[in-house]
Amino acid sequence: MQQLTQILGSFLLLLLSIPAIAQDNCTLELSGYVLDAHNEKPLPNSKVHIRELDITVSANADGFYEITGLCPGEYLVFCKHIGCDAIKDTVLITQSTQLNFYPEHHLDIDEVKVAADKEADFSQKPEHMTERELNESRGLSLGEGLAKLNGVGKLSTGNNIVKPVIHGMHSNRILILNNGVRQEGQQWGNEHAPEIDPFIAGDLAVIKGANSVRYGPDAIAGVILVNPKELKKTPGVAGELNLVGFSNGRQGNVSATLDGNLSKLPALRWRAQGSLKRGGNVQAPDYFLKNTGVFEYNFSGAVGWFKPKYGVDIFYSQFNTQVGVFSAAHIGNLTDLQAAFEADRPLEEADFTYEIGRPRQEIEHELFKAQGYWLTGEKGKLTFRYARQFNRRKEIDKHVPLNDSLAALNLPALRFNLTTHTGEIAWNHNRTRNFKGIIGVSVIHQGNTYQGRFFIPNFRKIGGGLFWIEQWKPKDSKLALEAGARFDYIYQRIYMWVNDEIFSPERNFMNGSGSLGASYRINKKMTARVNAGSAWRPPSVAELYSDGLHHGAAGIERGDASLVTEKALNFTASLEYKSDKLNFLIDGYYNIIDDFIYLRPTLETELTIKGAYPLFEYTQADAHLRGTDITVNYLPSENWSFTTKASILRAWNFSQNDYLIWMPSDRFENSLEYRFKDSNKLANAFVSISVVSVLKQKRAPENSDFAAPPEGYTLLNASAGMDIPVKNQFITVGISANNILNVRYRDYMNRFRYFTDEMGTNISLRVKVPFTLLQAKSIHE
């Protein structure tokens, strides 16, 4: 044992002495600037340290530093500024090298902003959630949290099942990239929420508009990016603990993250993360909603090996949830629906309980990912990514089978198992002759099986795509242009029983898509962007073959096997203005969609032993969706901030010459905020109130719904938060109150609006505690 320790010890000693191999031409130099990550202002007196040589220099007033007399070799370089995390970088020096550092203040650790600057030239700039918005979304579901972004709405089925909506579109028209991987769950269903733990995200962003070229089919309305923070670059072990409590539903969340980086093996970085969520029946202003609890446990781990020239990392995550589905919304037939709608209160009521009964959904999603990069000389970077996802969905009916032996099996009425393999290889080339770009290939293989009641058939899907995007931007040019093209092929085969025989037709889809865009920096404060993109998606298996009774919706849904590919042409334009006193972002969009697939009420009923059911059929229409999202932020003084947001959509069905069904109505939000001056005891403290107004959806086709769209509503929300310095860290505390006036309201985009009011007042309290377990002693201040 002792021997082993000795061997290990000497091994580690040797490890430390690797890079500084003495050579003759020790005349190289390392120099650069240390600049604030957010405003690029110089950070004088920052320390730059080379571990192998034990050299430390200070940056001058301009933030400039210089280390001379270096021999070629690989060095571990640290940069440290007071109040900032140390930055660590492994640098390979073969010639004199310039290296800039961008330390970030603890106050607003916001890796996002650095990235955002790089995105400024894109014609479709991702909209990131701010650190505060992210904090305030802690404990909410992904769909609920994303709705904080202007122009992102939600399609809900009760309070726990929330899907994001962009420009009136959702489900198969939005692509979610979880960790860079195309999320493949059962996203075709309106009551199938994204299977992602939002606590994983260190950054949540939305790219509105068609984005098929880079990300593949389905990205008709936009792309949602869920990215974890980068793995820890500085030595040590640190973590973060999040505690969230909600008054409504008495929901509690705990999440913890541990990040590590060995000072002896700085290229090795790791993370372990987990979260727990438990909530009970939620309360509308006048009553509890029976069976609306949720229980969720999620965990993930990552380990990576990063060198300047290459890097690999592996990620694994598991998402497990049990969601109660509001009992009174599970109804027998149209008469029940009518009764439910006419009733003042839900016909089934309950008291508070954490217990989740029937009906409910049990969902499990597992993601395994391996990815890497390899620098191809000066020219570019090769990245590859493989991911495997398992999605298991169980839907447990309200009814226990009458037959005792069947009931004893306690089987879910419906089970789906979806397995997906995806892969991508892409080569990013750096700017050469004003061009930079990416070229790549992606593949997908997917299989779905079901057990229980028939709703959609088993299927297999194989697809591949080739894409190429280039951006043209001369140095110092105000104008940047981009163009991209993509070609995809998808093979799909379904398997179902028809008259005791397997019916298994095959389908092939092939399509190209393209995009053209420009961004123009009018002046330092204002940037204009325009983009035209095409996108497409094959009809989903559900749209082709679903046939069955949907209890929650009291309808018979029928697919149409003759549906063809949906094609979209999407135009976006935006104007962004940023200054000290005024900021605004105005987005406009126009979507021309041919063969838009939607569920059309046939206005016919189908007779069953349970009574008559309305019949809904998947059908296609030519549709136009256009609208605008506007955010204006005015700061009359350092302390006050006033923000107004508007989101407006008009959608027209040309085939029916009527409005498109199920489109969000106009939404407005005004908020006023007071920011306190930072002091030694308090930072980033604020209080804000906001008023959200959602208008009645008057632009819905008549006689297409069981009940007219509900009235508009206005809600009053408030929140406050602060960072409290404790030792070297900041503890972030926040409190929010939604629907303070306990208003009774129903929302057109909630499928349970026939049955119940929305949630009443909900007060939440959040605490975020960062902590350091092991501090590397590499820098001496």
């Binding site: 091994f11 040797l14 490890l15 690797i18 093996l265 290229a267 090795l268 380990v303 090996w305 690999v312 592996i314 694994y316 599970h330 109804i331 027998g332 037939n333 008469t335 029940d336 016909l347 597992e366 395994f368 391996a370 009916d397 309200k398 009814h399 089978p401 009458l402 037959n403 005792d404 069947l406 089987l411 009425a413 397995t419 293989h445 997917q446 299989g447 779905n448 099986t449 057990q451 229980g452 009641r453 028939f454 058939p457 088993n458 299927f459 297999r460 398997y495 179902m496 029983w497 298994s504 046939d547 069955g548 009774l549 018979i556 007779l607 069953t608 032993i609 349970k610 009574g611 059911y613």
Partner: protein
């Protein structure tokens, strides 16, 4: 030299993690190799029959059936009788339910009877001169598998027969619960 070793070590660690990652998860299910969709594990009621027996034993027995042999959706019902009763007669009516999607045909009536405290039949005549009263009980509330139909003057209308599933919420009224069966029969009093 040592650097090589480190890399080998790291490669080994990452390799192990990869293997662990791949193997620790659930078995990699085969992607739809031999599809075996099951037809219907659940349970459906396809058939409801009402059998009327004259309390006085004078009039002949009457039956009325609703049958949708492939369950909800799909094909339309193949049997949908009218209820034809004689005026001035008191009938005892019993209801049977069955599932004809399986062989042998499953008797649902017995299962309803077994859980009679969760089930409740409602009868709503309209137009026809019929008065209906449930005659059985779960011990607390009536059930309706057995009922008495008092038929008045000749005429015609409809009668809606509804079976409500009311686990834990049965209160002797039709309001709570989920509808299992709802059939509106044309009703003719001769």
């Amino acid at each position: 030299m040592m650097k090589m070793k480190t890399q080998v070590k790291v490669a080994a660690v990452l390799g192990l993690a990869l293997v662990a990652g791949l193997s620790s998860c659930k078995k990699d299910d085969d992607l739809v190799p031999t599809p075996q969709p099951t037809i219907n594990e659940g349970e459906v009621i396809t058939t409801m029959t009402l059998t009327f027996v004259d309390d006085a034993g004078v009039q002949p027995n009457v039956t009325a059936t609703f049958r949708d042999p492939d369950g909800d959706g799909g094909l339309a019902p193949d049997i949908f009788d009218d209820i034809v009763l004689q005026n001035g007669t008191v009938y005892n009516c019993s209801i049977t339910l069955s599932n004809e999607t399986v062989t042998p045909i499953e008797d649902i009536t017995a299962e309803v009877l077994e859980e009679d405290d969760e089930h409740f039949f409602c009868f709503s005549p309209s137009g026809a001169d019929v008065t209906i009263a449930r005659t059985d009980s779960d011990g607390t509330f009536e059930v309706g598998l057995e009922s008495q139909w008092t038929v008045g003057a000749a005429g015609s209308g409809t009668t809606t027969v509804t079976l409500k599933h009311q686990p834990g919420v049965k209160d002797g009224t039709c309001a709570p619960g989920e509808t299992d069966v709802e059939v509106t029969f044309n009703t003719i009093v001769q």
